[in-house]
Symmetry: C2
Subunit: 315 residues, 2 copies
């Protein structure tokens, strides 16, 4: 049993809300996930979350704080959720105040990508660094920035949207009118679409399942030249966005997580190669390009660690 | 006569070293510039700078600190100049220590773009903001980042190189192997080259002088459609790099200075338009896109203000 204070981390997703008790960098107890779409609106869902919290606290009376990672825009200062793209009814919800009233514990509400970055920075691959870029590669591409030993939230709590940065000023139109957004080239579905085009052009058409990032990783590891080329392209495009972060912020490390990062060397090798080819000495000599330590639990751990720190119990 | 402490600001350029006494946001006394190329090496030039400092101090005994803005990589912590691209002999020079020994005053050494940003942030167009992007558009394109109310220097003091960020992952190869660097599209010479190509293609070839940014601004203001198109293109490319900064850092303001910014509305209007088309609400609703307040004196003012703050006399 550790002496560090415990916190509850909540990873709020469009499919499910995952909750766990965190001790240091470990989730020591998981509550059963709550199915997000089963709830009519925020009130009922917050009630269900509060009940889950009470169950966990009954087993872990040492819990000092609650952190919630949200898939959308939040105001960290007030704990208000502005809007969630994939969950109906969540517009201008004072989640911090509501959950504090129901639980009596201090609650911290933060964007999920910032929570993941916090987990990596305080307990994972980014420990000890003052300047970090975190990227999560999946269906969407998210990120977070730590500069001068602080999370950068920006003027309106929007910072870190590396997936929306452009790699081509004349490129594909993205979700917000932004041309050439990285997410529109290296999101899961775009990787699959690019691979299908490449196989079709080679006279060897394949279905979407055969072109998932996992399937493409297996094919590339078996030596398939088309799959290898896809990963090099993906790495090159990720490297461009990462390079822009480097010239702008000169980080100590770039931490890359999410499903696409599971391709391992297939994606890390081209990212590293293209970054080294396109940066000068002070930007690359000591630069670490490393996989995230935490997988699916990054959101829970990060929300909990951030909640403890915000409540005055730094790890 | 103001009661604020005075400082000496030094703007060290490849052509000349400009030195002045700064009171608040004003240069109240200019020393004659020193011609940089006339000196064999750092020692002689530092001696000449020290003599200039002594002349100014004889007239302004209230000077408390000296700030130097350098056109290259410096270590702000140690005051070492790593390397200057355009001035021979300046490799690993401990400028802070040498100039402190000669003058007996605290000396601060900083990159020139960071000095300009500091001037704008503390005394100019960026006053009161916590999150700023500064860009200087000239022969080269430089910049600086302020986040969470602090200048971001990064792991190796290289941060802020917005001119080296890419706007096209398959674009032109730049000075450091980086493809699609903004500077290689909107630097003075590249604007001129693009205009010459456009006029040539239109059957109206023009010389380099007729295609300088100043000449192109005059032509566009007189309604020349080719010149107008050039400025729209330049604005669009600058907007892409600025947009990337916005998604990543969500600044309060983007401050744009340097020679190209003198085109005024011709360049600010397309930058604003293309930025607004490619950002979502929280990134653009309150975003200020403003010209720098300081022109040629930004370097002197910024170096002086930074030196005072570093020496414990914040403005």
């Amino acid at each position: 049993m550790s002496d560090t204070p415990l916190a509850i981390g909540i990873d709020f997703g469009g499919t499910s809300v995952k909750t766990g008790v965190v001790d240091g960098s470990e989730v020591i107890d998981h509550a059963p996930p709550i199915a997000t779409p089963e709830f009519e609106g925020p009130e009922e869902l917050i009630d269900a979350i509060a009940r889950t919290v009470e169950d966990l606290r009954a087993r872990h009376p040492g819990v000092k704080a609650i952190g919630v990672g949200m898939p959308g825009f939040v105001n960290f200062e007030t704990g208000t959720v502005y809007n969630l793209t994939n969950v109906r009814g969540w517009t201008n919800i004072g989640l911090k105040a509501l959950l504090e009233a129901k639980t009596g514990l201090p609650v911290t509400v933060e964007n999920d990508a910032n929570c993941m970055a916090f987990a990596e920075w305080k307990q994972g691959a980014g420990r000890g660094f003052q300047h970090l870029i975190c990227m999560t590669l999946g269906t969407g591409v998210g990120g977070a920035v730590i500069a001068n030993g602080q999370l950068v939230r920006g003027a309106r709590h929007g910072a870190g949207e590396i997936g929306q940065t452009s790699i081509d000023y004349q490129g594909r139109p993205g979700a917000y009118g932004n041309l050439g957004a990285l997410e529109d080239y290296v999101g899961n579905n775009e990787i699959t679409a690019s691979a299908r085009v490449a196989y079709e052009a080679a006279g060897d058409p394949k279905g979407a399942e055969q072109c998932s990032p996992a399937a493409l990783a297996a094919a590339a590891n078996a030596g398939d030249p088309i799959a290898l080329k896809i990963w090099d392209d993906v790495g090159r495009m990720i490297a461009t966005a990462a390079m822009n972060c480097c010239w702008l912020l000169n980080p100590d490390a770039i931490i890359i997580g999410g499903g696409v990062a599971k391709a391992g060397k297939l994606v890390f090798d081209p990212i590293t190669k293209h970054l080294h080819e396109q940066l000068s000495g002070p930007f690359k000599d000591d630069l670490k390009i490393v996989p995230a330590r935490f997988g699916n639990e990054a959101g829970i751990v990060g929300a909990a660690v951030l909640a403890l720190e915000t409540a005055g119990h730094p790890g």
